[in-house]
Amino acid sequence: MPPVDAAALIAGALLALGPAALAFGGRARGAIHAAATLLCLLAAETGGAALLTGTTTTLTLPIGLPWLGARLALDPLAAVFVLLLGLGGAAASLSSIGYYRHDPAPLRSLPFQPPFLGAMLAVLLAADAFSFLMAWEVMSLLSWALVMVDHRDAATRQAGFVYLAMAAFGTLALLLAFGLMAGPAGGYGFDAIRALPPAPLTVAAILGLMLLGAGSKAGLVPLHVWLPLAHPAAPSPVSALMSGVMTKVAVYAFLRVAFDLLPPAPWWAGSAVIVLGAGSAVLGILLAVVEADMKRALACSTIENIGVIFAATGLALAFRSGGMPALAALALSAALFHALNHMAMKSLLFLGAGAVLHATGTRMLDRMGGLIHRMPATAALMLLGVTAIAALPPLNGFASEWLVFQAVLASPALPQPALQMLVPAAGGLLALAAALAAAAFVRLYGVAFLGRPRTPEAAAAPEADRATLAAMGALALLCIGAGLLPGLVLDLIAPAARQLTGATLPAQAHQPWLTLVPVSAARGTYNGLLVGLFVALSAGLAAGVIHRTASRRLRRAPAWDCGFPQSLPDSQYGAGSFAQPIRRVLGRPLLNARETVHMPPPGDPSPARLTVTAADPAWAALYAPLGRGINATAAYANRFQALSIRRYLSLVFASLVLLLLGLALWG
């Protein structure tokens, strides 16, 4: 069977699991999630196989628009994301077998989760604008239903509302973008769009609309506000899917349009993408640093990683418009590699956060602590995840971010002086984001897993279920494998880079010691295997030396109490205290972070209070005025609700005359 047929069958089967869930009820939840896991693994196999052969297969189904049908295609670009979706979806579905074990209302999520995967797969396969938008909208609506699983919580309902509004806005932007691409002739097939490239200014307009449409789904600043609300509100496997996979589907949409369907854009379009990406990276990770809620912090870190991916994509656009396909391939490979890596590590972290939430009943970091003793396996896997996402070698996060920086360092080759100045500045922002990411994840891991339990629930937390641990273990293996052997991953995604940029990185597999050589050995090399060996050997050696030479004699002495004579768990270093330095330095200008100390006067027995507030600047700067404007317009338009018949007729008449007048003047 051609790969596209197999992928279409898998998408159909995943979509059909929804009705099956309704038919069998909650009893079959284990079987349905197991089926979804298998189907996702098949999808990953199909994507990987299509990528290895590097071929494009197409299929036309007799559904959809009558004269168009539903066109599907599996080319290397789609295959990369099918692989990503398959791996992320399999892990999330596997973990769902355990996660929903004690769910009292399984039918709130079960009929939606496998079809959500199927809809995302359909987006990746679609090869005409109609099927694409249809699948995109189904994906949005199903994910909305999954966000609303816990709909009794007012915060969840609020998150669902914001998400729905943003999703509708995003789809509207995509609709306009595809309308512009189809042109007056209305060629909605992707091949028809490729055959008739639009004018340069139209290209820029389409890219702007795609940034709005795909960027709002991916969580690009300033369209990110729904993401820290909606991703954590969903059940944790769904959070993993939304953060790990759905944001990548949005990245796919942008790549598909920007590189495949459109001719090279003007250079300043690329620079806009770079600026937005770098800004998203810094603001997203800053939000994660000050966030007190574990899952929200993870969602904010998704904004950061999407920013990194978009910055690399913007670089690729700039190199492409400058006529440098090899460097464009480098930047694009970095973006694709980081997308794959982020899927693995963010899914791992969200599944772990779900296990912690399940065990402690809270998402607040300051109500956890000491979980490493109660949940050792989860803690070990989470440690791998935070190390990977903090971009520490030898794991995969470092490899892909290193590749992004290789692309940044190649920017002097660009012809435009503005870009030559802009790209290093963006590189600086990305470096800042990487450093802040390390701080954010040290904080997240340290406060949640180390120290002493802050609440009785944390002290009695049970270990995660085996299905979730298995899923996390598989993802951790992916993180380690892609970190140690980045060259093999780059060789795997090389057909996609060639399809989009016309060039590829030099083949990595035959390099000695599997060293990563993106441009040339003189420009920079990285060998994950050797670094990993060095880290393992030196750490093992140090541990051995310490164990051998340290005294085993038992000593008793008063423990150092950090200056706190009362050893309450609350006196430990907490999430807020860890974030304080960064919050004071960067949070004050960027997040409007404020600390107010309420000190009761002498004689007043009430306790002193320290109140810390920080707000996402996008709300105050963009969304609050927008909301007020919409409300004012609605209040004004409300007057037209209750006119007399004659006045309605007058409105019709006036608009008719106005249109005729316009026709007479400019027709």
Binding site: S644, R646, L649, V652, G667
Partner: protein, 221 residues
């Protein structure tokens, strides 16, 4: 005089526009109904002349006959009966004064002529000016509907608007009879429904002034 038939056609279409202006000018209901009758008669004559010009078009003769029968006889008589039974034949019921309405009507006529002359530059001169006149009649009918307060005169405005549509269709050669009959019947049915409603409104509120309906609805515009 090769252009004489076309000139006569224009004369009749122009006559229809003139009748529309006369309708706008009338501020008493009984006089309005009389002018509406004349409007329909001119329409019937105009359509009949078109039929004569276009040759073997039995359809258009039939259309003219339908227009004459329904619009010049049945509907005006029924409306006159309604007006008499409601006792409103002397009511002055314009919302906007006559002079501003006439000025607006002149503006609309100018607009539609400019528009049609520009849009149909390549078309047959007969259809071209007919279309301009027809658009004028339609716009004047709408103008009448929005400047009158009484439900009866809104019905009349609607009917005159429809006359404009028939004029346009007759000029445009080849409108099938089915469409014309359907239009004529739908107008008749609309007329019946509106008539029934008028009496209903009258029974409830002792007036057919639309402002009374707004008060009953409770929310003020």
């Amino acid at each position: 005089m090769a252009t004489l038939p076309i000139d006569i056609a224009h004369l009749m279409a122009g006559g229809l526009v003139l009748m529309s202006f006369l309708m706008i000018y009338q501020d008493r209901l009984s006089a309005l109904l009389d002018v509406f009758t004349a409007h329909a008669v001119v329409l019937a004559a105009s359509v009949a002349w078109q039929a004569h010009l276009q040759g073997d078009t039995f359809h258009l003769y039939l259309t003219a006959l339908i227009a004459l029968a329904f619009k010049a006889v049945v509907i005006p008589m029924a409306l006159a009966r309604i007006v008499r039974r409601l006792g409103i034949h002397r009511e002055v019921e314009t919302v906007v004064g006559t002079v501003p309405t006439m000025l607006a009507g002149i503006g609309l006529a100018a607009l539609s002529i400019v528009l049609m002359m520009r849009l149909t530059a390549g078309a047959d001169p007969l259809a071209r000016e007919d279309l301009a006149f027809a658009l004028t009649v339609v716009l004047l009918g709408l103008l009448m509907m929005v400047t009158r307060r009484n439900a009866v005169s809104q019905v009349v405005g609607f009917m005159s608007l429809e006359n404009g549509l028939i004029l346009a269709a007759a000029g445009a050669r080849g409108m099938p009879l089915v469409v014309e009959i359907a239009v004529a019947f739908s107008i008749l049915i609309a007329f019946i429904v509106i008539g029934v409603f008028l009496f209903r409104i009258r029974e409830r509120f002792d007036t057919v002034d639309l402002a009374a309906l707004d008060e009953v609805r409770g929310d003020r515009a």
